[in-house]
Subunit: 192 residues, 2 copies
Amino acid sequence: MIQLFSIFNTMSLDVGAHLRAVRQMYGLSQRELAKRAGVTNGLISLIEQNRVSPSVSSLKKVLDGVPMALADFFTLDLALQPQVFFPKEELAQIGTGRVDLRLVGSGLAKRGMSILHELYEPGADTGEEMLTHGGEEGGVVVRGRIDLTVGGETRTLNAGDAYYFRSTLPHRFRNSSRESCEIVSASAPPTF
Amino acid sequence: MIQLFSIFNTMSLDVGAHLRAVRQMYGLSQRELAKRAGVTNGLISLIEQNRVSPSVSSLKKVLDGVPMALADFFTLDLALQPQVFFPKEELAQIGTGRVDLRLVGSGLAKRGMSILHELYEPGADTGEEMLTHGGEEGGVVVRGRIDLTVGGETRTLNAGDAYYFRSTLPHRFRNSSRESCEIVSASAPPTF
DNA sequence: CGACAATGATAAGAAAAATTGACACTTTCC
DNA sequence: GGAAAGTGTCAATTTTTCTTATCATTGTCG
């Protein structure tokens, strides 16, 4: 009796789709993974189509080729995969006034750093009171010109110039030019 | 070809022993679990002996009978199972002087309360300065007699008597009798 | 274009898992 | 004691998984 395996047999765990997702996540072809795992590509094809329910030992062998532990395989929630690509519209706008700050990945649960896309309009200024906070930060001027003061020393950075300093040092960004200035920066640990 | 399944095929995951442990943890017989899971007892026997490596769908069915999720099954670390039985010798001695305190489960990672086996020698006294700490505590006098002062009121408790109060109330234990007194107490959140 | 390599899918047979229906053993209960 | 119902195991059979070998499709390179 030929019977197609209902996806719902495994109740809310689609092993096939799951394996396929994992495999593609690692950029492997069925054959490539098969070779590493010591199984045949056919098996992987069948598993991914949910036409068989692999034995635990088979699944183990396959995952060893990735490599990935069984526990991780069953624990991994594909829906919870951290987002990788962030369309412009999805960047969280956190700036005020003439300084426009857009945070990359504001929705991520845990971030090791804050990456910002910053836009300083002509005259924009982070304020005479210097900024100080923990960690380190750095960035690159993408467009325009900016006056950056760090620890008493001021420099004018042009497009292509970059900076990196410990955030405990008092610092200030000011756009004294007549065109807007665009910067991409990062700070760790995350400020926002 | 008859071949016994090496436990090491599944590399550090002994599915059979694991299933058996889970089943016994829930107090189920092979047949009982089989009936709930909609499989045969034979299968469970074979799986537990590692004479077959169950298909994921089979294992899923079996675990549904427990019930337990696949992810939990593979994640569960049997070694980390909290200890249930504590031989007398394993109780941590934390008392001083004439008061002997022995803590149940001092090795447990997380405890919701402290359970103590207390022994007050004749004349033993927790001190004139009243004890105060957070949470609640209670206990039963198992042997002997003890004078317990709580919130200004003093009572003499004999074997079989018990107490329960909020630990914020100042309290004091004193054994004014000529025989030692034995108490089993509990406090939550754990003091020790 | 045409040869070539790589991809995923598939039918049929080999191998392993799962069921059936026993068996031996222990516990419970009258 | 002895029936009755419980336990886990096991050989034989059925069912499913897995391999082998092939196919169709796609993309690459000369």
